[in-house]
Amino acid sequence: MSAKRTPLQNSIRGLMSSTVLLPAFVAVFAAGGLLPFSVLGANVANADKAEVITVIGIYIHAWFLSFALGLPPIVLTLEFLGIRRRNPDYMKAAERTSRIWGISFAAGAATGTLVEFGLVQIWSGSLIVLGTFFFAPLFIEVFAFMLELVLLYLYLFTWSTYRYTWKHWMFGLFIAVGSIWSAYQILAANAWMNIPWGTGDLASKVLPWVPTLGPNVTNSTAMIRVLSLLPSNGSAVVGNLNAMQSIGQILTNPLIAFSNPEAVPLFLHTVTASIATIGFLASMFLSVKYFRNRGKREYYAKFLKVTFGIAAVVSLLQPLFGDMEGRLEYTYMYTKFLALEGIPPQGGTNPILGLLLLNNPNHFFQGFDYLRTLVGSSISPGLASYTIDFAQQNQPWLTTFFLVMVVSSIILVIFSIVYFGLYSKKLNRLVRLVFRRDTQDVLFASSLVLPLLAILASVFGWVAREMGRHPWSIYGLITYNEIVTPVNLTWGYIALIVFIELLLGVGGTVAMYISFQWKASDEKNLLSEKSEDAQQLVKG
């Protein structure tokens, strides 16, 4: 073996060494009695600890899933161009990019296992929801997952067997369909947690400002019994066989989660955000390569045109989907709306919001103070007050997160418009006037920053979304401490799981980076004389 190692190889060795320590960690925790597990009732302290695992786990999972959702359009476009133009450059680029797709999928599956078990083991009370409202979304999601998995291996292993064939491209297309389908199923479940559609006026009995949430497709008696058992018993009630059997039928329409008005907007918003983030990230990769290796300008430009183009198109759609989401928050999750938009406690006007939501710039938005006047009509005034207090106390944070997301998105939209300067002479002139640079140069330079903004927008968008629902796991119906496991979670256990999660996150990312190493010699060989669009870009 060569003794000379790069810093990256050293870091991998370090990572591997730390992986080797895992069993030692388990042994230490077990020996010290730090692992849980005297059974307690449900409590907030336990739920707060569980949240640490869940938040980190879901963000790491989402990081890999963004690739699984964002890479298919890039890979498929590159392969499409490769097949259509019989161009080896595009084919090679598609093949290389598909490796990251494969690794991100594997890492996503590993972290997904953690998240899945987290849901049924750490948040074991959620099994009531899994067995009812989430039944259809999760059950059908497995079909999508299977479709993805079956075809992904075929796609990755048959590049040489089916080179330049539409058959291979179709494999990829169906994987993309599987990924998007899978995302829809999961996001339908998440949307239902925010707007528990199909529960009629149940949520409004606790939170009086919540409107009727669709037709009531529940057996109200059974549903109310569940909701009354959870606060006093916590998730332990699910393990009480007699209590569970006596509840009876809760839900009459298993497909209700798909009727949720937020299911489609959330899906569109999230999927396009993932595609944009990965598109900009791929552009950054090309841009770094370009600035390090200026002689290859045309080579990188042809790929930038694809990656940035995809990101630009979906970024331009983002305001539309964001607007749809905002309207739903205004209608169904008013406390979150107030916290995100920074409406003062006494209420006030916001011309932009008023115009966008109600075509009335002078509309007066009621604030937290008004909501407090409704608390008296709640069957659980304490919980209603807590919901308002939490939103109001965290309003500065939530508004900041929301603003970061909005401002980042606006910048992304501006540069997405700039992209079309590649195709429009008028726009190109305008870009030159503003930036004193050619469109292509502006795109290369901006690509160094835009992915960071895209990641910021995604991360803060989700933080605001999830934090804005606190303390509710299912808004207006079930709080987070009611569904946490009755097993006492120790900090030793939390540390162990967080360590594993971080290890997976770092390890998966390093693996993706290694698999995507483009060597200068490859680029030299790959640069095809036939690449018409590269010539056009050079001329342009």
Binding site: M1, M16, T19, V20, L22, P36, F37, S38, A110, T113, L114, E116, F117, V120, Q121, S124, L127, I128, L130, G131, T132, F135, L138, F139, E141, V142, F143, F145, M146, L149, V150, Y153, L154, F157, T158, T161, A222, A236, V238, G239, L241, M244, Q245, I247, G248, Q249, I250, L251, T252, P254, T485, P486, V487, Y493, I500, L503, L504, A511, I514, S515
Partner: protein, 388 residues
Amino acid sequence: MTAPAFPGFSSTVFIGFYLLGLTVIVHIFLVSLVVGIAVIVPFFEWRGYRNNDDDLLGLSRRLFKFLAVTDLVAGVWATWMTVVLACYWSTLLFVVTTKLFLPVTIAIVGIVISIPSMAAYYYLWGKVSRRVHLLIGVLMIIGTLLVPIGMNAIFAFIDYQVASASAWAGFLNPLYPIFIIHRVFAGIVMAALAFSAFYTLKLAEKSGKADEDSSVYLKGTRCGLYVGLTALVLQTIIGMVFGIQLMQYSPYLASAVFGNVFVGYVPTYYDFTPLFVVFLVIVGILWISGLYNLNQFRRMRFSKTASYMMLFAAMAGVPLMEFVHDAARFPYFVIVGSSGIPASTFVNSWMVIPSEFAMAAILVAGTLMTVFVYLLYSLFLKAFGAKL
């Protein structure tokens, strides 16, 4: 003696039981292969380095490709199994994840260690020192074994329960130690004898014409036979001990599987003795074909018939006995002595689950898995055909 009154059950109970059974059997079949190969591959690599045996190293690398594909398919079925548990058997899943929190956590840690270590093992072969690579292999073995170490506490729990509030109760189950050893050795027997049969068939096809792959095939045949038959000796003893323990701790299940041939027989709803007899025949075939192949191998002869029989017997034993072990408990789910807790107690009663879901699941699983197995394995055999 007659069986006790049949506990009531709905179509949901039957469909849920059927779906869970399907996913468990397919998953166990695949993970048995995974466990077996994951243990064998680093062992062969270590022996290969130690003896400077390139053929053994080549064999180890080729087997690993099969492991990667099989583990992936097993993972899909595991996900489906969890979803079926969560959706149809929500209460049972709660009981299991709460009472067996520690074993389930260990299994999850195992899954999370095994997937990346498998990827690292593959991608870093030849790119890091032998010692580091073997270390990753050890990690892969640990990760892979932690999964059955954790999950088999669940299987032991539904056969017999220990009255203890300890976090370690899952491991204190008297059925557990033999259960886990039985599972691991089943995997080793299955994997070793199956690939040995595969290589013997390859050699038989060549009819004595040696080429560059012949030495690897010979190595595969030899190693598979020695490892597989040694494990089979142990597995036969372990199996008998397991049967005796089952009679002691889970008489209902033992009665349903072994029939009224042992002391302590209790009436059961269904009699799975005929299937158990079939299993014994399969084990017999495995013994005879294995010893016959070993004898032939020493004379450098390769029998196609004996190899096909060995391949079939190696692959059929685990899923058959998994089916018997799981189905024999019906209509109970958790066995308590000579009776049990009916499956209907644990089934999701909060919603009428349309049977279309189950039908769609079976249809999709069947179609996609058929496509997958046909396309992927045939591609693998074509692409690496000579290499497998």
